[in-house]
Subunit: 458 residues, 2 copies
Amino acid sequence: MSLDRVLDRIDADLPEATERLLALLRIPSISTDPAYAIECQKAADWLVEDLKSIGFQADKRQTPGHPMVVGHADGPEDKPHLMFYGHYDVQPVDPLDLWDNPPFEPALEDTSAGQVIRGRGSSDDKGQLMTFVEACRAWIAVNGSLPARISLFFEGEEESGSPSLIPFMEENRDELTTDIALICDTGLFESKTPAIITQLRGMSCEDFTITGPDRDLHSGMYGGIAMNPIRILTRILADLHDDTGRITLPGFYDGVEELTDDIRAQWQGLGFDHASFLADVGLKTPAGEEDRMPIEMIWSRPTCDVNGIWGGYTGDGFKTVLPSQASAKVSFRLVGKQDPDAVRDSFRSYLESRLPDGFTVEYRTEKGSPAAQIATENALFEQAREALGEEWGIPAAFAGCGGSIPIAGYFKDILGVDAMLIGFGKDDDNIHSPNEKYDLESFHKGIRSWARILDKLA
Amino acid sequence: MSLDRVLDRIDADLPEATERLLALLRIPSISTDPAYAIECQKAADWLVEDLKSIGFQADKRQTPGHPMVVGHADGPEDKPHLMFYGHYDVQPVDPLDLWDNPPFEPALEDTSAGQVIRGRGSSDDKGQLMTFVEACRAWIAVNGSLPARISLFFEGEEESGSPSLIPFMEENRDELTTDIALICDTGLFESKTPAIITQLRGMSCEDFTITGPDRDLHSGMYGGIAMNPIRILTRILADLHDDTGRITLPGFYDGVEELTDDIRAQWQGLGFDHASFLADVGLKTPAGEEDRMPIEMIWSRPTCDVNGIWGGYTGDGFKTVLPSQASAKVSFRLVGKQDPDAVRDSFRSYLESRLPDGFTVEYRTEKGSPAAQIATENALFEQAREALGEEWGIPAAFAGCGGSIPIAGYFKDILGVDAMLIGFGKDDDNIHSPNEKYDLESFHKGIRSWARILDKLA
């Protein structure tokens, strides 16, 4: 059977596949820092050459920012046309002194938990991206061609807000429209269960400063009579949650949907261990709405968190200042059909209604994004789930994801293409942090998973 | 009459008196910065020499920190022995770029509101300190000696927490014990009415950090289920006041006394304009307890203010971090017989009772001080009040002061000496800020005020 031969080939080729990934990891393609723009070009060039060597038609497409890489390979016309998306850019590496080895001198390392590929981008997202490329390479090596038409779409701005993405998708709509999009930028559930992410939370953010007195005051002279902006701010923020953990903004829960019985049963079946999930980060009790399953709090309930707060004197010692200003950054994770603009409007009305006469507020606006609820009716979802279960020996889950991955929504909204989010990262991969790694197991079984998925889908 | 001749002498000598003050202001005696320790020695030396030139026995007394200056001059044994206290050290000058002229190149400046002496320390406290020295100089010049025994006690650590003060007072108890202590480190009421401060608020401070998760978390992964320390902190701080502006800590108001009818009537008679007091700093409505006179809020009611707050990401842009820690600096202004230690204990119990299981708090301790309620039964108070009224042409007030001036309490507690706080600063003197100034009127009429007070008291 040809799948077995492909899997054997993957196993045999693993050392070479690892070397190829290490070569890509050596290119410091940090997208957010203009000093590394040339490195982003180099990473794109490296991918174009590698894809061509397998047999893809591939080229680099310039944008106002970093280039896109697009590749196509022929396959049977009667099979679904598959798109694969990944990103070759990486996060900055600060603080450098917390890295045990230089971030762009990647290496295969032995650890007590097995071999890991260490280096910036190893998990997010070069390692994940290459799992699919390696699966295609093995398939072609064994069979001479792919089992379906496959297009590849690699972005170089994912870690810097993807400014060129939407225009590029709109300008290349026909070329990028396929039967399904496969996206490899997520993780295993609890680092062991393969998962297809079907619910992604959206986001609405507000960064603001409230001003009371027109200068900093001395609390000896003004304390008691002059209203302190920190007092106003803490009250506004404290009252965003009621005693049961619900968010109090009027209309906030509009568009939040209850879980279907089916999904609820499946999630209950995952046996999520919330106590150890919290204990891993030093916490004891969950913080969400008191009547919700912990897994629901993360995947399918909206949240409100203060991500930053500052005001007054914050240095060593004490100054009895009554400050002129107090500031905060507040973000809302959104689910279902919650409208980011409506949430923002409700927050602003709430905030402004609680400012004393004479106080002002200044907003530093950030763009919001709605949640993505991925319809799983497409039969390809069930086939992929089976393939994953066969590789990992554990039934795969349709899981939620607490974060926001806007690309999934763009495929649906701009191209009308369902996105299937499958990834092999683990919770301890340190993505966006020092000492990023990707388990060799994630890489190896990731490649094998894609081979199995290609076999099922085609 | 000899007082008139003394006042004439003061008027005639004002240009020279101003020059002497400018000379003292040129010495950058910043006590909090060890780099300026030698300048504190120089300022003390300058004072010793100046006092000797008038006829005082004066010397510099070393301490583990900056030196004290102590001086004595004889006078009739049957008159009250007077002590005068001031401090020759000054605040740091940051931010330097906000000064129109270098802070230690003082000058007499013409402004639309009259002549001012501009420079660091001009008001706080070198200019105020010199008002008394100049009054003594004029008195001796005219009469050959002083009308009473006078001791002088100048400190060089007032702006850096006075670490040597209490030990020095205890070690020199006999030498420093007099019939009354005159302290010149306060201001005119509303910049125009002479005032003797008889109520000073005390202080209890708490600088603390609460820790929840043992590291910063990503709100995509943990938002909803993990409790955010900023949420806990804002709730703790917000609930310190109820809707009427009262402070909610159990037992907080223990020891807070109501105004006597006498004081209430006197304060009502001051015609304090709270609307313009607030409007001067851009505010519209008072913030204190809703059933209190505004002047009462500042002078005789306890307060709670958050002087600083920080946590999470506070830089440009947005990071959806769920931080491990959140911190604040909270201070309580105390009145009457409130016990700073009891207030601290109540705050800590309150705070800790509201931490979720698993959260911890770390305190960075600051010493508290009780309020000072100065008994005005001593006949010298009424005599000084009369003298001030004669100089300024407005009846002088027994006023409160929102701040804390611990020295007044030390004179009473350590030496058993009543302290009389009389000063000539104005609200716009910019003490502790760039462009500090002292009105020439404050300096001139301040000197004349002390001459009149000496005349009355002796």
